[in-house]
Symmetry: C2
Subunit: 300 residues, 2 copies
């Protein structure tokens, strides 16, 4: 089982959903992705926090096989903070506040023993940082995630690093935005023309779409009876997917499709409670059962 | 191959979509359903039109193996007419005008040789009429479709006849409305408690969900590059699905799942042109190819 290097943000989040309000919980793209990936492969984390970062949150990360040698604690800086609110439909969050803090000057130091990591997940963070980290690595497989903010503000930088990824993960609005196409089918084809090798378009409660070699694979979303907090679901999806791929000897077309299901399973757990709460009490048996349930959902 | 009895409306439609405007074309739930079903099984049509109904539209129906002995032409009445408009997203139509005309007093006469039809599709029409027709038949398998209007205005009548159907087809808004539940998972479970045996929830571009024995099956929608006119897609979906089931010796769980794919295939063709245009030029080879494409979309 090869390890996965996860680059992204480690944040302190405050979240409101129709089901409650949580203050100053551990969040960030790398936290969710690393936690999720760690159920499939050991994780090497690259991220930074400020001196205000609670030591207990580092311990939360270490509950899982997550190497935090690459989690830099920058003195005299504050940790990245995000505050958001979800409406009744638990759709896109409304961002109430973003304080980049330590992220404004983040220039990652990568532990030397990370450099040969075969599988890399560049979680959502400034694409310039994604590229800088990628320049130091010689991975066999790279997955990249991003968000609307970078599509709007650093489109060229994002496209440059996205072309180097084996698989780019975007949500439907992001795919449409980056391609500047209203139809998802046209958007996928356009992004391929831009030079993206493979693409996953996440559609939230409507599942995810893998586009490879001009062919689509449609993965369902889990028919979720109870959803509590969607924060980090996209990161858990892509992290789980990357972890699943890292755990395979060879990445075939079939395993790539199965990795989308694995990612969906991890997202389906994440949404069941606030923050990392559900993932912290998740067991391998639960993952196995839900994987079976997922495959049964589409078997015909 | 058993025949299918299709009860529903035959209408004269005027439709506007972002791609054009069509005046006084053949429409109605029974026209689309019968046309779609006829690719899988012979169809027996039960519907009524007025004396203004163009003879050429009857010929359009007879292009396919559709028995129109049960298409009653009522003298001194006008055919049901519907005028609607679709916005840029081709979502729900805005109804600009509905003239029930002949439907206001529709009391179907069923040809005697229809009475033993083993498979029945009660397409969207007043549930009181659906029930009245069903009372004359002893079918082995009944599929029922409806719409928001009947959920709002004849909820009790609809639930009474829906409980007698083997399979009820609704779109997501209708399922939520009938169950009075916001979550689709809860709605499906509630409708089962109401006494519905099996349920399909259509989610348009997001596919369809079959709920049977407390288990879900998720069928994808075809990744449609070009959509022109969604009118009749739901009817073609349910009609194709029923025709597919009628063509089977026995209805198993697996074949029921496959019937959802067959319905989705027929809907995916219907949306590609105005009215019945695409279905009129459709070939069995095209259906076979797209069925294969669909199964490949979810294979993993």
């Amino acid at each position: 089982m090869s390890p996965v290097l996860v680059l992204g943000t480690v944040a302190i989040d405050s979240v409101e959903t129709p089901f409650g309000r949580k203050k100053a919980v551990l969040g960030g793209s790398a936290s969710y992705a690393a936690y999720s990936a760690s159920f499939f492969a050991p994780v090497r984390l690259v991220a930074c926090v400020g001196s205000d970062f609670p030591e207990r949150y580092t311990r939360v990360l270490r509950e899982r096989p997550i190497d935090t040698a690459g989690l830099e604690r920058v003195p005299h800086e504050r940790t990245f903070r995000w505050r958001g609110r979800y409406g009744a439909d638990l759709g896109e969050a409304t961002t109430l506040a973003t304080h980049l803090n330590v992220l404004e000057r983040f220039n990652p130091n990568i532990p030397l023993d990370y450099l040969d990591t075969p599988c890399v997940f560049l979680a959502n963070i400034d694409p310039v940082i994604q590229e800088r980290v990628l320049n130091h690595l010689k991975p066999r497989w790279v997955v990249l995630d991003s968000m609307n903010y970078w599509i709007q503000h650093k489109r060229k930088d994002l496209l440059r690093v996205a072309k180097r990824a084996d698989l780019v993960v975007l949500n439907d609005a992001e795919a449409r935005g980056l391609a500047q196409e209203a139809s998802l089918v046209h958007a996928a084809r356009r992004l391929k023309k831009f030079g993206l090798k493979r693409l996953i378009i996440k559609k939230g409660e409507h599942g995810a779409l893998l586009f490879e070699d001009d062919k689509f694979f449609l993965a369902p979303a889990y028919p979720q009876p109870a959803t509590v907090d969607p924060t980090g679901c996209g990161d858990a999806f892509a992290g789980g997917l990357t972890g699943f791929l890292a755990s395979q000897k060879k990445i075939t077309r079939r395993l790539l499709r199965r990795s989308v299901i694995a990612g969906s399973v991890m997202a389906s757990f994440t949404i069941e409670d606030f923050g990392l709460k559900r993932l912290r009490r998740l067991t391998h048996a639960e993952i196995r059962n839900r994987l079976t349930e997922f495959h049964d959902l589409i078997r015909c």
